[in-house]
Structures are given as C-alpha cells and as structure tokens.
C-alpha cells in the first residue's frame, strides 16, 4: 500500500492538519505591552499610616501631573498674590482620598488617641477642621493638669501643622484654630519661655505684607507677648538670647525665638514704617532694624545679626576679566547709582552634567527672576560676580580663563541677563601630586562681601546697595521669591531717592 499503513496515514494527516493550522496563525500576533492595573484600592488601607501614605501619593501625583499637563516651569514664575499667602488648599482629589480612607477613623470623639498625630493630619487633609479641633482638645484634656511639659509638647507638634510650616500636605494654614488653641491652652504651660515660644509661633504669616486679619492677630499676640516679656528674669533672657541665630538677614519668620520675636516686632510696626524710614534715609532704616533687633534679643544694636552687612559699606568689585563693562570708567558698584551685586556660579547649580537630563536649566530659578528684575528696573545697575574654575560645565580641554569668562557670559545671556560680568581668576590651589585636587581659594570679592563672616559667597547671593554704597538688603538666593518680596519695593524707593537727588543736586 502506498504512503504507509492506515494508522501512519492518519498520523501524517494529523500532522499536516496541525501544521496548516499553526502556519495560518499570524506569526507576528505577539502580545503588545499593556500597562498593568495600578488603580489604588483605598478599601484595602486599614491603618492611619497607610491612609497618610495614600494621601501623600495622591498629592505627589497631582503635583507632578500639574507640571506635566501645563508644561509650565513654576520655579521661574513670579509669585502671584495667592502664592504669597502660603500653601493653598489641597485639590479635590487629594481631599477625597483623605476622606475615603479616613472614613473609618472619622469619629473624633471616640477614636483611639494612640495615632493622634497622624489622625490630626488626616482630618486636616480631609478638611474636617471641626473634627481636628475636637481631637486635639481631647488629646490636651487627657493630659494631667500637673504635666505642662507634655501639654507644651503636644502644642509644639500641632502648631507647625496648623500653620503649614515645614510639614507639607495639609493645605492652607488654619491660623484661627492655632490662635484658639494657644489662647486656650498656653496659659496652662508653666514654662514662660515655652509659652512665649508658642505665642510667637502663632504670630507668623506668609509673605511680607500681612493683611488686616493677620495684623489684628499679630497685635493681639503682641499684647500677650509683652506681658510675658515683662515678667522674664535675667536667666530667662539669657536662655533666649543664647539661642539666637545671627546669620544674615534671611527670612523674617520661622527659626528660633529671637528671630520670631524680631519678626513679630517688625510686623507690629508694619512694613510701611520701615519703607518710610528708607524713604527718609538708609541710616534711618538701618537704625530702625537694629533697634528692633536689640529689643528682641537684649543685645546692643551694633550686634545686629552678627555678620549681616546691613548698613555696611560695599567695597568695589575686583575682577581680572570684565565683560560688558569697561573698568576704566570707574569702579562698580558705581557711586551715585543704586546697585545690585549678584554672585552667580553655574558650577553650583549645573555642576558637571553627566547625563542629558542634567542639561535642563538647573540655574534658571536664579537667572530668570534676575532677568525680570533687570527688565523691571532699567535704572538699576546690576553686576554679576563670578570666578573661574578651570572648566565650564563639562568642557575642560583647552579651556582658558578668558574662554571660561566668555562662556559664562553666554550662559547668562541665554537667560536674558545682560548685566556686566566680573570674573576673578587664579584664585585656586592645587594639592601636590598624586592627590592633585584643585581647591578654590577665597577671592577678594568673597572676602569683601562676606563682611567679616568668612567663607565664600554662595551662588545666588545678592546685595542691594544704595547710591552711597551702603548695603540695604541681602538675599541668599535670587529666586522667584526675590522678585516679589520687599526687594522690589526697596529698589523702587532707592531709585526714587536717586532720581530725587539727581533733580535737586546743583
């Protein structure tokens, strides 16, 4: 029989049929990549910590989507009036997450206090302010009367949350609740210094210009603070002043007690009082600042924030290479001009980019706001101070100081900053071989503009100098906050004075 026996033929036919079926299936019908289901099941979260984690994830996701969908690089934008008020309310999605997850813990009267802090935050995130208030009062009521240390500790931990300080993720600050809590419970804190600390914490606010409600709150607090201050012993005052931080003229709020009391006094006086004094003269402005400082710390006015150059004479800028300016015309800052001296160094923000993702304008948060200042105040004399490092970003082969200066100028101009560049060179040392590391020495500008404090002047630090060469304001960072903080108003006033003087001068 041809083609084998019947069973063999059936077997072979079956093979052929199977082969025909297989060959007819498209060989390229592979499974394409599909994204796994990443939906979060809130119902599976059974503890408060898990709920907190869900809210934080929701917050991070919302923030990142905002940047992605708008394509807007927020860091370089000027602050708007809402932003100046501090953290905003949470988005509806985040609140909803907090509510759905926190539903099982929503009985503020009955829920266990063992997770007090996390629950307190969760209630605020869910915008259950009444429940948060009930919970914290329950917590404080549970403390024995004699244990004022624990009471102070509880208030110490809830106040930063209510004031939206440092701990992100609870939305807008609850000043009213904070003040009510402190008014109700601070009198039962035995330690007067601690009580003072609590009152001054509640006096904080965002931005530089308190609104009327904030001003009223500050005035109420100031009365209570005044009463406590009058009762302090010398030992109490020593304890307060030893905790004083004395570096620069940085943020007017936050930090230790002396800083906050100083800010409180400034706020009670009101910013306009300071601005009016500056309209009169820089010396009056400096005197007012120093006197407030002396009152806050009990130290001499001359010791105002040791190392802060307010009221100091700014020395001429030294440079080995000037680009955009002819040094034969005279020193910078130019006498008779209002000046802004800005120390900028791309090595601190960009570093040596090693991957393409690092070539994304890491220095823009300083340079774009500086460009805005430059555009807003054409009469403001801006000078950028920098130094050579032997390389520019990743470029080192064949680099010279002149080339490095030109590249730095190009870098500034790429962001629209057309100010003259003062570059110092040769101020480094090389360790002997085989170590061979290069270390930058302090330049003359570092020494002159540290005003006795020592160390190099950090990237982004800006000095506002009046027409008499007196330092009026120092900012640690020329970022977007610099564009709308009192720096703008100070520049306005100084320029106005400069114009007035130029009109009346013979």
């Amino acid at each position: 029989m041809p083609y084998g026996t019947l069973p063999t033929r059936i077997y072979r036919f079956g093979l052929l049929a199977a082969g025909a079926v297989l060959l007819s299936v498209p060989a390229s019908a592979q499974t394409l990549f599909t994204w796994p289901d990443t939906t979060v099941d809130i119902a599976a979260y059974t503890t408060v910590e898990e709920c907190q984690a869900a809210v934080v994830r929701s917050l991070s996701y919302t923030d990142s989507r905002r940047d992605l969908t708008t394509g807007v690089w927020v860091d370089t934008l000027p602050l708007d009036s809402l932003d100046v008020q501090g953290p905003r309310p949470l988005s509806a999605a985040v609140v909803e997450t907090a509510r759905r997850c926190g539903e099982r813990f929503s009985g503020a009267d009955t829920v266990s206090l063992s997770d007090f802090y996390a629950l307190f935050r969760l209630y605020l995130q869910a915008e259950w302010d009444d429940r948060a208030r009930t919970l914290v009062n329950r917590r404080l009521t549970a403390i024995e009367d004699s244990n004022s240390t624990e009471r102070a500790a509880v208030l110490d931990s809830v106040l930063p949350v209510l004031l939206a300080r440092g701990s992100r993720g609870v939305g807008a600050p609850r000043f009213a609740m904070a003040e009510d809590l402190v008014n109700a419970w601070a009198p039962r804190v035995a330690d007067r210094v601690k009580r003072l600390d609590l009152y001054t914490a509640v006096s904080s606010f965002f931005g530089t210009d308190p609104d009327s409600a904030t001003t009223a709150r500050i005035l109420r607090i100031a009365q209570k603070v005044g009463v406590i201050l009058d009762s302090l012993t010398q030992r109490d005052i020593d304890e307060l002043t030893s905790a004083t931080e004395a570096f620069g003229d940085g943020a007017e709020t936050g930090g230790d007690f002396a800083q906050r009391y100083y800010a409180l006094l400034n706020a009670v006086l009101g910013r306009q009082t300071f601005l009016d004094s500056l309209r009169h003269s820089t010396a009056a402005y400096v005197k007012l600042k120093r006197d407030n400082w002396a009152q806050a710390t009990g130290m001499l006015p001359e010791s105002y924030r040791f190392g802060a150059p307010l009221g100091e004479h700014a020395k001429p800028i030294e440079a080995d290479i000037w680009l955009g300016y002819d040094p034969s015309k005279g020193p910078r800052p130019t006498p008779g001009r209002v000046s802004l001296v800005v120390f900028l160094d791309n090595h601190e923000c960009s570093g040596v980019p090693r991957v393409p993702s690092r070539l994304q304008g890491y220095c823009a948060r300083n340079l774009v706001p500086l460009r805005r200042l430059q555009a807003r105040f054409p009469d403001l004399e801006i000078t950028v101070v920098s130094r050579t490092h032997g390389h520019f970003l990743y470029l080192k082969d064949g680099i010279t100081p002149q080339r490095e200066a030109e590249l730095t100028k190009q870098w500034l101009e790429a962001y629209g900053v057309n100010a003259p560049l003062a570059m110092t060179t040769g101020d480094f040392m090389q360790l002997p071989d085989p170590d061979s590391r290069r270390f930058e020495r302090l330049s003359g500008n570092d020494i002159n503009y540290s005003f006795g404090k020592g160390g190099e002047v950090k990237n982004g630090k800006a000095f506002l100098i009046d027409q008499d060469g007196i330092v009026v304001r120092v900012r640690d960072n020329v970022n977007r906050y610099a564009v709308y903080e009192d720096l703008n108003e100070l520049i306005d006033i100084l320029l106005e004075r400069e114009h007035h003087l130029s009109r009346v001068a013979p």
């Binding site: 498209p26 994204w35 090693r354």
Partner: protein, 498 residues
C-alpha cells in the same frame, strides 16, 4: 497584521536554523546592526523628546565535564535592547526587550514613553551649553578571531585531550572550557546641535570583545589528592590547554595522602594564581577616590585634614613593599582591557614602588577638580611587578614553609584593613630545608593582601593568571602577577576539603 520584517536572523521556532553558530548574521550584534536597530527605534518614537538606546549582546560557547565525561555543551546568546524615552517635560522612562522584530521594538518604545509620562521634569535644553567634548576610546587589543572561531567540535576535541591523560592514570578529571564574545553600544538623540562627533560623552561607541577560559581539576579516586590549573585570556591562542592538563595531573599525583599540620604563621610560596586570588580584593578597592575623599570608609581613607578642611586619602603614601608596582594600560596586548571611551588612556600606575599613586575617579570629579578630564574605573585589569626568582629557587631557599596553588572562597572581613578569609585548595605542600617533603591538608587563612604585600621575601616573574568573568556578557578583568614568597602568612584552622 502583516508580518514584520526580521533583522538578519529568524527567531521563530519553525524557522530556527539547525546549527545556531552558522545562522545568518553574527553571534553578537555588529556595529551596522546596532545602528540599524537604533534607527528603527527612533523611527517608532512618538511625541518628540529624546531617545537613548543601550544595546548589548553576548554569545557564550561552553563545555563542562566531570568524572571524565562531558556533562554540558552549549552555545548561548542573548541580545538586550534598553529603550529610554524622555518626552517633553517627562522623566526618562525605560523598557527592555530581547526581541529585535519591529513589533517588539515598537512595544518597548511605547512602554518607555508611557513610563516617561508618569513624572515631570524641568524644561529640556533651557540655557546655554557649549559643544560637547569628544572622547576617543583608548586603543586596546580585546578581540581575537581564534576565540570567536573556536567551534563546538574543536572544544570537544580539547576536552577529550584533557580528559584522556587523567583517565589513563586512573584519575578523575573535571573542568570547564568557555569562549565568549560580546558587543555593546549606547546611542542617543539628545542635543544633536552640540555634537561634534557621533557619540556624546555620556554615550558609548560600539565595541566588541572576546574572552576565553580553560580550567580543570584532577582528583584521585580515593579523594585525597587534587590538582588544579587554569588560565583565561581574550585570545584563545594564549592558552596552552595540554600544558594546563599536564600541570593539574602532576599536582594531583603530588598532593595525594596529605598530612595534617598545625595552623599558625608560615612562610608561604604563593603561586601566581594564589597571589591573584588574594590581591583581587585589594585591586577592587582602587575604584573611586570619591569614597575616601568624601569622608566615607575605605582602606585608603587617611582622615580629616582640619587645617585645610578636607578629607585626605593615602595617595602619595607608601602602603606596600617598594618592589611592588601595580598598573594597567588599556593598550597592553597581553592584558586585553575593555575600556569606556571616557576612560583615561595610556598607562595608569595605581601603586608605584609601594606608593599609592592613583585611585579611580568619576568623570565629573576629573573635570571639576583634577588635572585631566577622563574617568578611571580602577584596576579593571592589572599588571603587577615581579622579580627574577623562580618557584624552584624560592623552594630551595626556604627552610620551612608551604607552597600554595590557589585560594578559594575568599571573603572580606574588614574593609579598612582588607582583612580576608578563605581556603587553600588543590595542592598544598610542605617545604623543609629547601625541598618539598609532603602534601599537606588544606587550611583556612585569615590574612590581608596589604599585610601580605608588606612581608615579601622573594618575587618571581609575572605571568597571566585565571581571572574569569562570571557575569554573562561581562567584560574580563585580566591580571598578570608574579609568584611570591611571603613570611608570616596566617593560617587559622585546618579544613577537610581537598
């Protein structure tokens, strides 16, 4: 859906060729194939942004035998295509595939794009950036046609030639023979306007390399004697397999019926393989100077310099015997080092006559703070200096000591002193009054290569040693080291393993 065209070779079961090594196209991706895959991946990209592709492939032909019989013979290969997409304002998203057809590549691109969209980043390319520097990979001999062309049949013949003598003597032979080839490149599209050459410095031009290794152990049937020999090189012709077989057999016969000795400190004559086994943990510490100079723990940390406000390393200090120099040269044809294109070219001396003169560094460190502008990964291959003494002369001049074939299971105990522990294996002999007198049972040692290199009595002529790369597709780390006679080597206990 129409069938997507394949690249060079067929991957479907029905189309698989009978002999893989003769498949159309090479066993590793060629430069042209890498460029073609890159072109296809970038063509699939949607939504703008940048694309980066990391391509790597390896082939490995291996043969393993035990108890005088071949137990494994295989040819394996693998391609890996990592696709990274950075869409405007998105973070880099990555996906990996090992399939080269259009459908798979497109799916990988889509997955990477999806991942990129999950996060956000700052504006791309904002600001001014000068032209990217161009680096040229240091020249090196790392490819051998002899290695690449060692066929399965030829490997079998070699194994038979190694097994037969041992079997004839009534011994049991076990061994491993491997040849491999690998290639890789990193290509990207970011910042075309800044490039002067093909590759940005954060990418990697194409390179391919080979490696061969042959090692065998011969044991007697009573389980008391064991001898080992092995060698690795990028070039198969540098490996004399019959000589290795003869040496392993000779050591096995000589190590039968060992006697137990008291542990303690002995003068030891370390064969080159033993030296390399212990020195390896030392040369691994040459990797990054940023560790000691960042104030973190390292054997090369000197401590804080309060006056200058920085952390010091031991660069410039004498750390070992002045007869020791450890260096590497990427162009050294006897070593065969696979180097990155940003790596420092030419000879780098890590220890120069006992003085620590170089440690590895990252590219950023070099540009920002050191004289050059290259990176250095450390002693990715090295050559150690030696002397003129032969092992026989070392034995002849030893009153009482031990000859060590090699160490195994070396484990680091303390990172600062590089104190390590491990075992002697495959041949340990007692020397008395200038002669080998008996085989000795193996010891566990607790010793530091730093201490060892400070207690040298004699050095021999440096030779290549066995330094296999265990990682599939990994680059080799070759070494050329001398035999050493060292005093006061610490053995802490006897072991039963042979």
């Amino acid at each position: 859906m129409s069938r997507a065209p394949m690249l060079g070779r067929s991957r479907l079961r029905g189309d698989e060729p009978a002999r893989l090594v003769e498949a159309e196209g090479g066993r590793v991706l060629s430069r042209e194939e890498c460029d073609e895959i890159f072109r296809r991946v970038t063509a699939f990209a949607r939504g703008g942004g940048e694309t980066r592709v990391v391509l790597s492939s390896w082939w490995q032909g291996e043969l393993r035998w035990a108890r005088n019989r071949v137990s494994l013979s295989s040819d394996r290969r693998h391609d890996s295509i990592l696709v990274e997409r950075s869409i405007q304002n998105g973070v880099p998203g990555r996906a990996v595939t090992d399939q080269l057809d259009d459908v798979s590549l497109e799916a990988a691109v889509r997955a990477a794009e999806r991942a990129s969209g999950m996060g956000s980043n700052m504006g791309h390319g904002v600001g001014f950036y000068p032209e990217l520097p161009e680096y040229e990979r240091p020249a090196g001999a790392i490819w051998s046609d002899a290695t690449y062309g060692l066929t399965t049949e030829r490997r079998g013949e070699i194994a038979r030639s190694l097994i037969a003598p041992a079997e004839a003597k009534g011994m049991l032979s076990a061994g491993y023979l491997e040849v491999r080839a690998a290639s890789g490149t990193v290509l990207g599209t970011a910042f075309p306007e800044l490039r002067s050459g093909r590759s940005a410095f954060w990418e990697e031009p194409y390179q391919a390399w080979t490696q061969a290794q042959c090692s065998l152990t011969v044991r007697d049937k009573t389980g008391t004697g064991s001898g080992w020999a092995g060698l690795s090189s990028f070039d198969w012709t540098a490996i004399d397999a019959p000589a290795l077989g003869a040496r392993a057999l000779e050591k096995c016969i000589a190590s039968q019926h060992p006697v137990a000795l008291e542990p303690g400190r002995y003068t030891v004559i370390l064969e080159p393989q033993a030296v390399a086994d212990l020195v390896e943990i030392l040369v691994k510490t040459f990797s990054y100077r940023e560790t000691p100079e960042g104030g973190r723990g390292s054997p090369w940390s000197l401590g804080a310099d309060e006056a200058m406000k920085l952390w010091r390393s031991k660069l410039g200090l004498k750390v070992v015997d002045s007869r020791i120099t450890i260096s590497h040269d990427t162009a050294d044809p006897a070593l065969g080092i696979v180097a990155s294109h940003t790596e420092r070219p030419g000879k780098v001396t890590f220890i120069d006559h006992g003085v620590l003169t170089a440690l590895g560094n990252r590219l950023e460190t070099a540009i920002a703070g050191l004289p050059g502008w290259h990176s250095l990964r450390g002693a990715t291959g090295y050559r150690m200096s030696g002397g003129k003494s032969s092992i026989e002369e070392m034995i002849r001049t030893t009153k009482r000591g031990l000859v060590v074939t090699r160490f195994s299971n070396v484990r680091l105990l303390d990172g600062t002193s590089i104190l390590a522990t491990g075992l002697t294996r495959d041949g340990l002999w007692l020397v008395e009054n200038g002669k080998i007198t008996k085989a000795v049972k193996n010891f566990r040692f607790t010793e530091s290569p730093l201490f060892m290199l400070n207690a040298i009595e004699q050095l021999g002529v440096p030779v290549p040693v066995f330094r296999p790369t265990r990682k599939e597709g990994g680059a080799p780390t070759p070494a050329i080291v001398p035999p050493l006679k060292v005093r006061d080597f610490s053995f802490t206990s006897t072991i039963d393993a042979i």
